[in-house]
């Protein structure tokens, strides 16, 4: 009974951590989120994406071809609540909450005893890594949820022959939720089939047929850049070639892969350093609170005791499938690509918890201690997530774009040129915040080479806005407002070209993000004439 109550509390707290101030923390909307938001808006209103393609298999966006499922499903909150930050992030938050609940079910399915499933659920529910991903309006948590559903069904195939169908359906859906989930799905398919070989029945074959059927639209594009662009673009070929001079190509490749894979299991990465990417991490905290490292270190010792157990088999299957993708990409420790490692990591930590609890023999006391350090870790999560993140990382999350859209909206009769040297790509964010009518925007786009032409020009023009670099010889002679950051337009240039400052947008730290200057072509031309006259006489 008390276990149920504790589980409900953990789910409620986890939900709070995922839903509280969802629209404003993180402050701003990262470009990947606005891509989702605007395309969902476009699909909801017109049934086509920003380019005018009806329900595409991959969204071209600005040439990165993300998987479409998250965007498709986001059309529902966008229709219900309108186009805003909350709508775009809601599906991710709900997926994150479901991931917490699924952790409990999977651990119970793996025969973890007593409070162990609860410990695992708490570790996932209060993990800064999972919370941040749940508050990001991108595909990460949805694909993890679908992948975990597949795992849940795979673990139930003994005695539930129709579970294979659930396994394959969710595996197929996961591959539409996140490009990085496709190799994971392949890993799950091969390794779970091998593990559960004795339980392979006709339903396995039926499931496989459904799986292939679900994948058909993707398989049709197998030769197109849209299918492979995301994966090949992130591979560390250059690093291998550099090392190959010292240690031959195969050894260099193994070296690179092993070093990357090891870093995903290193306590230093998991509990201290986290992701180096400022957008994918929280200030001052890693993927898990450092206090839980002791469980992880001790948990490795539990591997021997689990030999031949389903828990160890699950660890191997989930660990191998989960580490493969991140270890093949060049980022040292990508928290997004490594999300499928959450279960193996928590499994090891749970073993560690149990090992200590058994050693000290006072289960209640140790459980109380666990709750105490969990509460202690929550203080640090609160600090990083709700105090520091919206303050010191606002500029990373493209804070200021909303204000810029508002400034433009206030001056509908004027033309704007927005420079984007350091803020690429700006166009999608302006489309998002201005809720620019999709049918108008689609009319300016071409659908030719949608899946094959990966070059998506970032220079765009819509409404009263041009998004491109400032051409000083031309643009100061046009009546318009030039927008850029502090480096785009200096005070000296403003004075020289008679530019009048009309607005300035700052982040919470006081850092200038955007400045808007109105050109004065007539005054500039007069001054040039005077200069010419002075030179002549």
């Amino acid at each position: 009974m008390y276990q149920k109550a504790l589980l409900i509390i953990v789910i409620l707290v986890s939900s709070f951590l995922r839903l509280y101030k969802l629209g404003s923390v993180p402050a701003g909307m990262y470009v990947d989120e606005t891509v989702v938001g605007y395309n969902a808006y476009s699909l909801a209103l017109t049934g086509a994406d920003e380019y005018g393609v009806k329900w595409p298999v991959f969204l071209k966006s600005f040439g990165v071809y993300p998987a479409p499922l998250y965007t498709y499903l986001t059309t529902i909150p966008v229709r219900l609540f309108g186009l805003n930050n909350f709508s775009v992030r809601l599906l991710s938050a709900l997926s994150g909450i479901s991931v917490v609940l699924l952790t409990f079910l999977i651990f119970r399915e793996l025969k973890f005893k007593f409070v162990e499933p609860f410990v695992a659920t708490t570790l996932v529910g209060f993990s800064p890594w999972m919370i941040l991903m749940s508050r990001t309006g991108t595909e990460g948590q949805l694909s993890l949820f679908l992948g975990m559903m597949a795992v849940f069904f795979a673990l139930r195939v003994e005695g539930h022959k129709f579970s294979w169908l659930g396994f394959f359906i969710f595996l197929g859906l996961a591959s539409y939720a996140y490009q990085g989930a496709r190799p994971v799905a392949l890993g799950y398919f091969v390794l779970f089939s091998w593990w559960k070989f004795k339980n392979i029945k006709i339903t396995w074959l039926m499931g496989l047929v459904i799986f292939v059927f679900i994948l058909l639209p993707q398989l049709k594009l197998i030769g197109q850049p849209a299918f492979s662009q995301r994966g090949t673009g992130l591979f560390y070929l250059e690093a291998i070639e550099n090392n190959a001079q010292k240690m031959t190509w195969p050894v260099a490749a193994i070296y690179e892969f092993t070093s990357q894979a090891t870093s995903y299991f290193s306590p230093y990465s998991i509990f201290w350093k986290g992701d180096d990417d400022l957008q994918r991490s929280l200030p001052g905290i890693s993927n898990f609170s450092a206090v839980f490292a002791i469980f992880y270190l001790i948990g490795w010792g539990g591997v021997l005791k689990k030999i031949k157990s389903n828990q160890l088999k699950a660890l191997i299957v989930l660990g191998l499938s989960g580490v493969f993708v991140p270890a093949l990409t060049r980022d040292p420790f990508s928290s997004t690509r490594s999300q499928f490692l959450i279960l193996p990591l928590v499994m090891i930590m749970t073993w560690g918890y149990s090992a200590i609890a058994i050693k000290i023999k006072n289960y209640r006391f140790f459980f109380g201690f666990f709750l105490f350090i969990t509460l202690f870790s929550l203080i640090w999560v609160w600090r990083s997530m709700f105090v520091l993140l919206p303050y010191e990382r606002a500029y990373i999350w493209d804070y200021g774009m909303e204000q810029l859209a508002r400034e433009i909206d206030l001056r509908r009769d004027e033309k704007f040129l927005v420079e984007q040297k350091r803020n690429q790509p700006v166009y999608i964010q302006l489309l998002y915040y201005m809720k620019y009518p999709p049918e108008l925007y689609q009319a300016t786009q071409t659908t030719d080479g949608y899946y094959s032409d990966i070059e998506a020009p970032l220079t765009r023009s819509f409404g009263n806005i041009r998004v491109q670099d400032i051409e000083w010889k031309k643009d100061i002679y046009i009546d318009q407002i030039l927008v850029g950051d502090e480096l785009s337009i200096s005070e000296g240039q403003a004075k020289e070209h008679f530019l009048e400052k009309v607005f300035e947008i700052k982040d919470p730290l006081g850092k200038v993000l955007f400045v808007g200057y109105r050109t004065n072509p007539s005054k500039k031309k007069v001054s040039e004439k005077i200069m010419l006259l002075k030179k002549t006489f």
Binding site: T258, S263, F265, P267, A290, L297, V387
Partner: protein, 209 residues
């Protein structure tokens, strides 16, 4: 045969003692000797010798580490702390911002934790900290990365067979975290443990095969 003597092979074929040798041949050879003796001592259950080696390495590690203050706040730290203090909502009845950002014990524990976690990173020993090279540190590859699987298996077995030995090493690391990690040759204190884990791993794999 080779797998069974993996610890000795790793003690001889490693880049760590060679790096020390390049700086000082005497210390380099002594380091090689320490490695071989550690593996031999472990195999023969001479834990007193191992304990002596660990104690000596701990002292040596402290001597070669450029110690840093745990509580001193440099200009860069001050700037970050001030910035973060201004992010907190105004809570007057509890100085939470002060506790979490600049209380000496908080600053000290963060620094100690950083040192500890750096030393627990297997990439530091097998890949010269690649792919997460640290700024301000000279990263050297210490052990050849092909020994990594043996070391991992060995650690798991050591965790079951000789918990005490692992705890002594962890305790040593906690002491060292007080001094920081600014050394030319990395964390030499863990050298015996790494070689022993490789040796144990090699023997376990041989038994399994």
């Amino acid at each position: 045969m080779g797998v069974a003597k993996m610890g000795f092979i790793a003690a001889i074929v490693n880049l760590w003692w060679m790096s020390v040798y390049r700086e000082s041949p005497i210390w380099g050879l002594l380091f090689l000797f320490v490695g071989l003796t550690s593996v031999w001592g472990y195999r023969k259950n001479k834990f007193l010798i191992l304990f002596f080696i660990l104690a000596s390495l701990l002292v040596a590690q402290v001597k070669i580490t450029k110690a840093r203050s745990l509580t001193e706040i440099a200009n860069d730290d001050r700037r970050l702390i001030d910035l973060r203090l201004s992010a907190y909502p105004p809570i007057t009845f509890l100085p939470i911002a002060h506790w979490l950002e600049q209380k000496p014990i908080t600053v000290a524990s963060k620094r100690m934790a950083e040192s500890l976690f750096e030393n627990l990173d297997p990439n530091q020993y097998f890949f010269g900290n690649h792919p997460r090279e640290r700024t301000g540190h000279i990263e050297i590859q210490k052990l050849i990365f092909i020994f990594l699987p043996f070391s991992l298996v060995g650690f798991i077995f050591l965790g079951n067979k000789h918990k005490g030995f692992l705890i002594i090493n962890l305790f040593g690391l906690i002491i060292l975290s007080y001094f920081g990690n600014f050394t030319q040759f990395g964390n030499i204190f863990l050298y015996p443990l790494l070689l022993i884990s490789i040796d144990e791993g090699g023997r376990c794999i041989r038994k399994l095969c």
